[in-house]
Amino acid sequence: MKVQLILNGDDLALSGEPRDSLFAVLQQRAGLFPERVCCEQGDCGRCHILLDGKEVPSCLIPFFQVREQEVVSPEGFQNTEEYRQFRALLEEEGLVHCTECTEVQIFHLFSFLEQFPQADAEECRLAIGEIPCRCGSKPVLERGARRWLASRPWPVVGREVPRGHH
């Protein structure tokens, strides 16, 4: 079967079996997630994608379900200006690249910070902990997340109070 979707900004059709997971098709047919082994149970976070703007594990999404939807993978995210800025900030904090998790962590953490721009330190820690890995980059990611949030203007919620009014 063929499924039409928008993958990393490209409008294309991917073919696969109805029983295939989105992860399997993206890896085997679209060349994404190279040399990556996923737990296929939604635990490891290695296959996360943005599906219509929402972060989901692609190993649990049936391939046929993404018809006419927009998919952004970590590889697609790596071509954006936001990725470059966020990565540069993390490297300033002392990020040491982990072949297993760094790209996934950056993708996941950035999605989380975009979704919850008012997250506190504890919430950031919990979000980082959602991608299990042995490496020692968690403190760096935490510091980076806090700095990123501090550097962004908070979104206005409700009616803005005019200056001088209390």
């Binding site: 079996e17 029983r19 295939d20 399997a24 085997q28 060349g31 040399e35 990556r36 082994v37 996923c38 737990c39 296929e40 490891c44 290695r46 002392g94 990020l95 040491v96 690249h97 982990c98 072949t99 297993e100 820690r125 919990l126 980082i128 902990g129 299990p132 890995c133 042995r134 490496c135 020692g136 980059s137 968690k138 403190p139 760096v140």
Partner: protein, 697 residues
């Protein structure tokens, strides 16, 4: 090994590159068919009809040597009739579509007659120095006894093993994430009965130098190569995360019994210890792990008399021991926990006891050598104690613990603090494979370094480049660390952290200095080969335990503060502190990252990572095995000891793991006021300890 010397040849840009990255549509997929029982004699196999194009591969199909060898240990690649452990590969299957191959493999059942196999020959060690005095209790001396056990620990990496093998016209190309490419070459050549020169391995970046990729990838590289030879296609063999969890080598379980004779002022007079390692069906790496564990027991403190026994126990479970460097941690865990028991028995501050008994200049070490340099343990302990206010807190929490009536009904958290010291041995000087390095300076001023060790990350490569550039006084951009490709690189042993820090930098400097001299005398390109040679110190004798075991030692001291929440039967780690002496830091961020990684390993080993080898095969425990999450991992305060006279950086990747586990265990035991027997400290163990009547603690 025949080597092609036609200028620089990077396999990633080579015309033969296709061998290492064939289009995925061309690749076939292999799966191992494993035993579902722990022991017995195979009398048959039941499976659905083999789908067209698929092929079964058995032990009789192996053209070369049917055994797999790691150092002195050999075991069958595919066992003929006998099952040695649960999950042992008995057959292989290969086919075009991975899903179809896996679906077939899922339905295969082996018919096995239960049978008791002869266990593999065990490894034992017995060491004794001096005469262990008789029990002198009552005459101002005390005898303290402890026994501890520690559980198995998974590598915890989610990127499970994947191998690509491509056999064409009698040559083999293997792409694998391995820390020991030379071993992949020799293993594949043995099994396929080929000249090793016909096997080329592209070793890709490993996930950390403390990974699990020493000998295990070689085994699966052999399987993939055998299948590729049989089907004539490139074959990918990948383990699922669950499969990897079941069969990949774990840190071995260890049981230790220790008995010490101490003077009333705290002086350690003698130590006797029995240490038993559980290594699964085959004692792969067990000899090195056992030796290192015993060195761990004997190194930090001055021992006028000692008697230690070590032995390896086999069982019908997958082989343990991914890497030898885990050994020191096992010995240190038992020793540092035992020291805490001594301090409690004598009512002495644990920091003061350790400072009092640390080996100092002039005192003979357990090997008989007298150290020439000061052991930094005393300073490290003093710094750690000062930074954490250890002595005051230890006394206060001890008093609180002694005054409690009923632990389970305590409303407030039970607080505890624990200390431990540890070392990391860098560059084991017993046997092993020599490390060679080759450098070539081309006409265009480009320096190519062929290092047989796989760099764990780009930062490590950058450090090596900076060192070469500084020595040769050329721009860093002119230095290339060539991807590890066995057709081009000199052979070498496993890529371990200590080698990366200890041997490679020395070889880079040696090579670059030789190149600098040679380029003045002859036209470019010039090539220099270097090999790491041992220093003049007496070589390590692993049988007699004499000589210098390691090229260098790194030291650290750790303090853990915890609170046990009685109504939740849960441990909360409040603070972790680590003070380290590992020479000057070349890369501060990488050093901190390695220490955090080690501390996380320790937290998992001590608290959350409960692993049981279930020989019935009904319960894998995969879903209950939990890496420490953000709740268990508070910020780690790290302090590097400045002012060390040592100018060379030393390895520190294992320090956090070696020191933090006993520190945490000691802190939990102080909070509970009881002697827990083992790690990981599960919630059930805590619950039982909390329910014990206080008088019995």
């Amino acid at each position: 090994m025949a080597r092609k010397k036609k200028g620089f040849r990077d396999p990633l840009f080579d015309p033969d590159h296709r061998l290492f990255s064939p289009p995925s549509a061309e690749c076939w997929h292999g799966v191992c068919l494993r035993s579902q029982v722990p022991r017995g004699r195979v009398i048959g196999m039941v499976h659905p009809p083999l789908p067209e194009g698929m092929r079964l591969y058995g032990p009789d199909d192996i053209p070369g040597n049917e055994s797999f060898q790691v150092n002195k240990v050999r075991f069958p690649l595919l066992s003929h009739n006998t099952v040695h452990y649960i999950g042992e590969p008995l057959f292989l299957v290969v086919g075009e579509a991975e899903a179809v191959v896996r679906a077939f493999a899922f339905q295969v059942r082996f018919v096995v007659v239960p049978e008791q196999n002869e266990p593999a020959a065990g490894i034992t060690r017995f060491l004794s120095r001096g005469v262990v005095p008789e029990n002198s209790e009552g005459s101002g001396f005390r005898v303290v006894e402890s026994s501890f056990s520690s559980g198995a620990q998974d590598h915890g990496r989610f990127d499970a093993l994947e191998v690509l093998a491509h056999v064409t016209q009698g040559t083999v190309a293997v792409k694998v994430r391995s820390q020991w490419p030379a071993h992949v070459v020799s293993s594949v050549a043995r099994a396929l009965d080929l000249d090793p020169a016909k096997v080329q391995v592209l070793a890709t970046t490993t996930a950390g130098v403390t990974g699990n990729q020493v000998w295990f990838p070689s085994l699966y590289a052999v399987y993939a190569a055998l299948l590729s030879q049989a089907c004539g296609k490139p074959v990918v063999l990948r383990l699922t995360r669950q499969e990897d969890f079941h069969v990949s080598p774990k840190k071995p379980e260890c049981k230790t019994f220790l008995k010490s004779l101490v003077a009333s002022d705290g002086r350690l007079l003698s130590l006797s210890a029995q240490l038993e390692l559980q290594t699964g069906a085959w004692p792969v790496m067990a000899e090195e792990i056992l030796d290192r564990a015993l060195v761990g027991l004997l190194t930090p403190y001055h021992l006028p008399h000692f008697e230690v026994q070590g032995r390896v126990q086999t069982s019908p479970t997958p082989p343990r021991g991914p890497v030898g460097t885990q050994g020191e941690g096992l010995g240190l865990f038992a020793l540092e926990s035992h020291v805490d028991d001594i301090c409690r028995e004598l009512d002495i501050d644990p920091v003061r006891w350790r400072q009092q008994n640390a080996v100092v200049v002039g005192q003979p070490w357990f090997t008989g050598l007298v150290p020439k340099t000061e052991n930094p343990l005393r300073w490290l302990l003093a710094e750690t104690s000062k930074a954490t206010d250890f002595s005051r807190k230890y006394a206060a929490y001890g008093l609180l613990s002694a005054n409690r009536k009923n632990l389970a009904s305590e409303a407030l958290p039970l607080k505890g603090i624990g200390v431990a010291s540890a070392f990391q041995g860098n560059g084991l000087l017993a046997g092993g494979n020599p490390v060679h390095l080759e450098g070539r300076l081309d006409e265009d001023g480009q320096l190519s370094l062929y290092i047989p060790l796989v760099s764990p990350n780009e930062r490590q490569s950058e450090l090596w480049k900076a060192q070469a550039a500084a020595t040769l006084q050329i721009p860093q951009t002119s230095v290339r660390i060539c991807p590890v490709f066995t057709g081009e690189h000199p052979t070498g042993g496993p890529s371990l952290a200590s080698r990366a820090f200890e041997m490679v930098p020395r070889l880079i400097v040696q090579t670059c200095e030789a190149l600098a001299q040679k380029r003045l005398k002859q036209a470019l390109p010039v090539t220099v080969k270097s090999v790491f040679r041992r220093s003049k110190t007496p070589p390590w004798d692993s049988e007699a335990f004499t000589g210098q075991p390691f090229l260098s030692f790194s030291w650290c001291s750790a303090v853990a503060e915890v609170q046990v929440i009685p109504h939740r039967a849960e441990v909360e780690i409040v603070r972790l502190t680590l003070v380290v002496d590992a020479g000057p830091r070349v890369d501060e961020a990488a050093a901190r990252n390695a220490l955090v990684e080690g501390a996380q390993m320790a937290v998992g080993w001590a608290l959350t990572e409960v692993f049981h080898f279930d020989v019935s095969g009904h319960d894998s425990g995969y879903h209950r095995y939990r890496l420490p999450g953000p709740r268990e991992l508070p910020p780690l305060a790290i302090r590097f000891l400045e002012g060390s006279k040592e100018l060379r950086p030393r390895g520190l990747g294992n320090l956090g793991a070696h020191a933090m586990a006993p520190a945490l265990f000691n802190a939990i035991r102080q909070a509970l006021g009881s002697s827990l027997p083992s790690i990981p400290v599960s919630r059930k163990m805590l619950d039982e300890a909390l329910r014990e009547p206080v008088g019995d603690l």
